[in-house]
């Protein structure tokens, strides 16, 4: 798709969770490309496999239950599923960082926040910074996220939810990573603070020249921040395209995306009701045959029930749906 060397490439990634005799397919052969300095929105309902994808990139999937069955993840052209744990530890927190969903639980309650931010700097101190330089950098990063450095000796419980999320962001940014993965960075926050945090993240992204993956179920957030959008459903990417493909000219969309758009409250039309998509996410231990969306799809055809649609790509806009196969032909 793009000539320049991408920061992240996921090829045919397949992840399952095993518990006793049940096996759930969390991620089914997905492909993704993220270029440098781009922001990708990974959209979908809870359970679509977004977080699993993110955790695979960091190799932080729960050891006992999760298994990567196949595929490749290339970070800066390096296949990170094949490198050793030591090498991976050097990448985590330094070159790839992650902001987790819930700021309330992702901070260690018994360690002062300054220490927690400093930790990444201490762990990845290849440039041999002195103690003082590390402390200065900690202060700097705290000010960047809008927290008074004097509060660094305080503990997480002394901060509000929004402030905690700022701490979490500061922690992730400490080493100026090349890739930042933000998993629902604002869902745990209330609406006014959401906007502030998003704005701040956008600002920091520009400043650090980072690439970013934002995981969310909120197309509104995607519209505000992303260059590329990937919609996930039942472990598959069912639509992938640029911001323009999704929000401007294009009218071709996967029926599931159409449903997602429908579930955004439209302020301009004065409509108060949401339009959630009918039905539930399929059971990952027993996925439907054919198109995984067919039991819920308003446009479902006979062929959909038996055969899995191919990825149809038109000018970089990918849709995985039988409706669009003829269009190319």
């Amino acid at each position: 798709m793009n000539k320049e060397n991408p920061i992240l490439e996921i090829r045919n990634l397949e992840v399952i969770y095993q518990s006793r005799k049940r096996e759930s397919k969390a991620v089914n052969k997905i492909n993704l490309v993220l270029n440098r300095k781009e922001t990708l929105g990974l959209v979908g309902e809870t359970g679509a496999g977004k977080t699993t994808t993110a955790l695979s990139i960091l190799r932080l999937l729960p050891e006992r239950t999760a298994r990567i069955l196949g595929g490749q993840i290339l970070f800066d052209n390096k296949s990170i599923l094949e490198i050793g744990e030591k090498e991976m530890q050097a990448i985590r927190g330094e070159r790839i960082s992650m902001i987790f969903q819930d700021p309330m639980t992702s901070l260690n309650p018994v360690v002062p926040i300054g220490e927690q931010i400093k930790e990444a700097l201490v762990l990845h101190n290849s440039s041999g910074r002195s103690k003082k330089e590390i402390d200065d950098r900690t202060d700097e990063i705290l000010s960047l996220v809008g927290i008074n450095p004097e509060r660094k000796s305080q503990y997480p419980h002394e901060f509000s939810g929004g402030m905690k999320q700022r701490v979490v962001i500061a922690m992730a940014l400490a080493c100026s990573p090349e890739l930042l993965i933000a998993d629902e960075p604002t869902t745990a926050l209330d609406v006014t603070i959401q906007a502030q945090v998003l704005e701040m993240m956008e600002d920091l992204k520009q400043r650090f020249q980072m690439s970013m993956i934002i995981i969310t179920h909120d197309l509104g957030i995607v519209a505000k921040t992303c260059d590329k959008v990937a919609v996930m459903y039942a472990g598959e990417i069912i639509e992938f395209g640029t911001f323009e493909n999704f929000f401007c000219q294009d009218n071709r969309h996967h029926p599931y995306t159409v449903g997602l758009f429908g579930s955004i409250p439209k302020i301009d039309t004065d409509e108060e009701r949401l339009h959630p998509i009918d039905g539930l996410m399929p059971d990952p231990t027993n996925l439907p045959s054919g198109c995984k969306f067919h039991p819920r799809c308003p446009k479902c055809m006979e062929i959909c029930k038996t055969s899995l649609p191919n990825d149809t790509v038109i000018d970089g806009h990918m849709i995985k749906c039988h409706l669009f196969v003829e269009v190319v032909e």
């Binding site: 960091l58 932080l60 006992r64 744990e85 030591k86 530890q89 050097a90 990448i91 985590r92 927190g93 330094e94 960082s97 992650m98 987790f100 819930d102 639980t105 992702s106 901070l107 260690n108 309650p109 018994v110 360690v111 002062p112 930790e119 990444a120 762990l123 990845h124 503990y155 419980h157 002394e158 979490v168 922690m171 992730a172």
Partner: protein, 310 residues
Amino acid sequence: MYKYIARRLLSIIPILLLTIFIVFVILESTPGDPAMIILGRDASPDALNALREELGFNKPMLLRYLDYVQGIFTRFDFGESYRSKQPVFDNILVQFPTTLKLAIFSVIVASIVGIPLGIVSAVRQYSLTDVALTVSALFLASIPGFWLSLLLVLFFSLLLGVLPSTGIDSWKNYILPVATLALPSAAILMRITRAQMMEVWKQDYIRTARAKGANEWRVITKHAIKNALMPVITIVGMSFAGLLGGTVIVELIFGMPGLGNLIISAIKLKDIPIVMAGTIFLSTLFMLIMLLVDLLYAFIDPRTKSQFKR
């Protein structure tokens, strides 16, 4: 913080008063006449009466209780042993160090063995190591202390002859008693540490630490232990306090002149002042240790600290 400590210290007093009362009632309702025990069976009724008068036994129990409490609070007078005729604390303080040593060594050994094994067990959850540790812990925790001590004596003293079975002459005398006391405690500590650690291991902040690039060792030592050990500390404190009053069987079996031994023989001889003072001593100690444990919490857990401030 100081207010909290003061409040806790003050609350010891009513609890002690109640404890003293309960022991009074128990002693009153058990058979045996101290005067008869002191003077022997053939003593004349007159002599018995005179002694009862002297000891205050002709007064009703409630009055004696009040007298006793008053003695403590006004003169710090806990009475004299009927048998040795010495102030009771002379007796107690002579015997206490043996018990204290037993308790301290046992709690240290139990912690050194139990806590790290619990951590290993949790981190290597469901591995062979974990299963082996869990099974042996279950075994140790369910063995009765007297049986374990007899087995140890049988093996190390009689069969191998490497360790003495009675006395307190050298440090070697402490090995078997401490083992008897420490092994079951270690097993319990291990189980609790494992449970706590497993809980902490699932927490998001552990994943956050990993995401920062921390290795296993650092995640355990910097992030998990402090969170997991808080409830464990309470258990350590409680088992220490419990051991101070719970070494009786071991003291009897290994012939160690400790506090437990003193109180047991005092109960047999109806040496009431010793029993009373021993009880007061132990329960005060217990409460002080628990206070200490709670304060320790505040140093580890910043959330508790801010509660104290309020």
